[in-house]
């Protein structure tokens, strides 16, 4: 189970890194979303993988760690809001610049302007 889990997290991360390095905002946003999935899975695994146990010490021989679950929940909430914001931002940039290329301006365009 650990190996499968690790491969999943690794694949997700690798794909997301590939997408984040693309030059257009849409694949980057997708990549970041994917990265947050990978991170959530990874965080979840830091309490070790345990099946069918309750998060209470002493109630059974084995227990599952509740803290990573709380961390994942926090990370999901924050990640969700951030993804929504970045999508809106990407759409706005697409509208204002007429292109979703992230880097195609010459650096001097901005001088003296806001």
């Amino acid at each position: 189970m650990e190996a499968l889990y690790a491969i999943t997290v690794g694949m997700l991360t690798a794909c997301s890194v590939y997408l984040i390095l693309r030059g257009r905002s849409f694949p980057i946003v997708i990549g970041i979303t994917m990265l947050s999935y990978a991170v959530n899975l990874f965080l979840f695994s830091t309490g070790r993988l345990v099946i069918n146990q309750i998060p209470i010490i002493g109630a059974a021989d084995q227990y599952t760690d509740p803290l990573p679950q709380a961390l994942v929940l926090t990370a999901i909430v924050i990640g969700f809001a951030m993804t929504a914001y970045s999508i809106i931002l990407a759409v706005r940039v697409r509208g204002e610049w007429g292109s979703d290329e992230v880097n195609d301006t010459s650096p001097n365009d901005g001088e003296g302007n806001r």
Partner: protein, 507 residues
């Protein structure tokens, strides 16, 4: 009674309450009430932070949220370092807020509330004693900074914000991964507890903890704008409005603070197999940041970009100095941090005024027409430039002196001195070129019509006055920063306060 028992959390509560009140619909002209609330809150915050500074003189104060004791609950810890950083934040925030109240806050909706939320995040990051909580406060400050960076709208800001947001989202993911790694190995997120546990690690576990620590360094380096991760900064700071840029002068320092806190407490000298993790990286990358910043200052053709690169230089200077890891070095970093934050804030505001008064040429370093308040602005720019370059008599000079003095061994002197002094020289060239083009080589004819109210100029003068104050009281301030450095190098008082005796302090 109530104040003293909850003093540690009040600097966080205050901006939050203010922001919530500001969000209420205040009738037809809400901005008047919102400004009043904001300025009142910021003034109270300055007083509170002074009281906190006095209170922590006896030792760190620990505040267990919900009375869950460390290491199981989340604790807020106020020690000398946190208290000083909070005072610095509020000292910067008040003049910037006053400045923004003359119309700049009308450029977009809810500037006032976002400003307070931003302060909430920054101050929370300085106070927390829990790594995951640090992540949460980072997110709070980032979310408001995303919105503030967009304040006023416009194509250029949009693109700069997109870069900033995407980079920081990736940064947050790396932060979470590093937290996961460290939690998986140590089983705790409380910084003091983690410091104890990391020190006991050996073999493979220690290697994994080192990997987690280096990931943290990447994240904090991104926030602080360390060399390979600084590219977002000049664009973002140069395109946003003056007040936002001035407030952001403290943002990079949050990254520096986090590096100082985590890498002295968890990966400090006593950390066993993980001791002094990343210090060699900080040394070289800091030096490189310093060099790149100096080139950027010289190469920029816009005064805003020049100041943005001055921020990069200050980050390089601070992190290089920090990596020398001696009490003297950390004390020098703290002094320089106070100076550079306040002076960069003042310069960003001043550039904003200059750009508006010059009209079409704005902040580009070219010949332009005279400004309406030419003499006053010229004097202010002169003082600010001297202070930021580090020429006597202002605090920049004293700060740089401390930094140069902190380099002890031959290799340190051989690398740090030429780079710091060389960058100072380049800064001097760039700023005197900018000053003479903008204030002396003006076009003949009528000066511009735009005048700025005295209140805005007073706000900038307030910031400049803090620099003068820092110069006059350099001796008490530096003895305070030495006390901070002493605490950081010997973190046992901090650990004891959090894990041991701190329990009885809390009600």
């Amino acid at each position: 009674m109530l104040v003293s028992a909850h003093l540690v959390i009040l600097p966080i509560i205050l901006p939050m309450l203010a922001a919530l009140l500001q969000l209420l619909p205040w009738g037809a002209q809400p901005q008047r009430y919102r400004r009043a609330i904001g300025i009142l809150a910021s003034m109270l915050a300055v007083l509170l932070s002074i009281q906190l500074l006095i209170a922590v003189d006896q030792g760190p104060l620990v505040y267990a949220l919900g009375n869950w004791q460390a290491p199981f609950g989340i604790v807020l810890v106020a020690d000398k370092l946190s208290a000083l950083m909070i005072l610095l934040t509020n000292l910067l925030a008040l003049p910037v807020l006053i400045y923004s109240c003359y119309g700049e806050d009308n450029l977009g909706s809810h500037f006032q509330a976002l400003f307070q939320f931003q302060l909430l995040g920054i101050i929370g990051a300085f106070l927390t004693g829990d790594l995951f909580n640090l992540f949460v406060f980072f997110e709070v400050l980032l979310i408001s900074s995303y919105a503030l960076l967009m304040h006023g709208g416009g194509k250029l800001k949009l693109r700069a914000t997109l870069h900033y947001v995407l980079l920081n989202l990736a940064g947050s993911a790396v932060f979470l991964i590093s937290l996961g790694v460290l939690y998986g190995i140590t089983g705790t997120l409380n910084m003091a507890d983690m410091a104890n546990k990391v020190a006991l690690l050996t073999g493979d576990d220690a290697t994994i903890a080192r990997a987690g620590g280096m990931l943290l360094l990447v994240v904090f380096g991104l926030k602080a704008a360390l060399l390979p991760l600084y590219f977002w900064l000049p664009q973002a700071y140069a395109t946003t409005t003056g007040a936002v840029a001035a407030l952001f002068a403290i943002m990079t320092k949050v990254g520096v603070y986090s590096i100082i806190r985590v890498f002295t407490l968890i990966f400090g000298v006593d950390a066993g197999a993980a001791s002094l993790l990343g210090y060699d990286w900080l040394w070289w990358l800091g030096l490189a940041t310093l060099g790149i910043g100096a080139i950027g200052v010289l190469g920029s053709r816009d005064l805003r970009a020049v100041i943005a690169y001055l921020v990069v230089i200050s980050i390089g200077t601070m992190l290089t100095t920090f990596s020398m890891n001696s009490e003297r070095a950390i004390s020098a970093v703290m002094f320089y941090m106070l100076h550079s934050t306040l002076i960069t804030g003042a310069l960003f505001l001043l550039t904003d005024v200059v750009a508006e008064q010059r009209g079409k040429t704005a902040s580009r370093i070219v010949k332009g027409r005279k400004m309406a308040q030419h003499g006053t602005l010229g004097m202010m720019f002169f003082i600010a430039a001297i202070a930021v370059i580090g020429m006597p008599p202002f605090s920049g000079f004293i700060g740089k002196l401390f930094i140069l003095e902190a380099a002890r061994t031959g290799a340190q002197v051989a690398l740090l001195w030429p780079l710091v002094l060389g960058s100072t020289f380049l800064m001097m060239i760039a700023l005197s070129r900018a000053g003479s083009r903008m204030f002396w080589h003006t076009l003949d004819g009528k000066p511009g019509e735009v005048r700025h109210p005295t209140g805005q100029l007073t706000a900038i003068t307030l910031l400049l006055a803090t620099i003068v104050g820092l110069t006059i009281f350099a001796n008490p301030v530096s003895s305070y920063t030495q006390a901070i450095a002493n605490d950081l190098v010997h973190p046992s008082a901090y650990k004891n306060a959090v894990l041991g005796t701190g329990v009885s302090d809390v009600k």
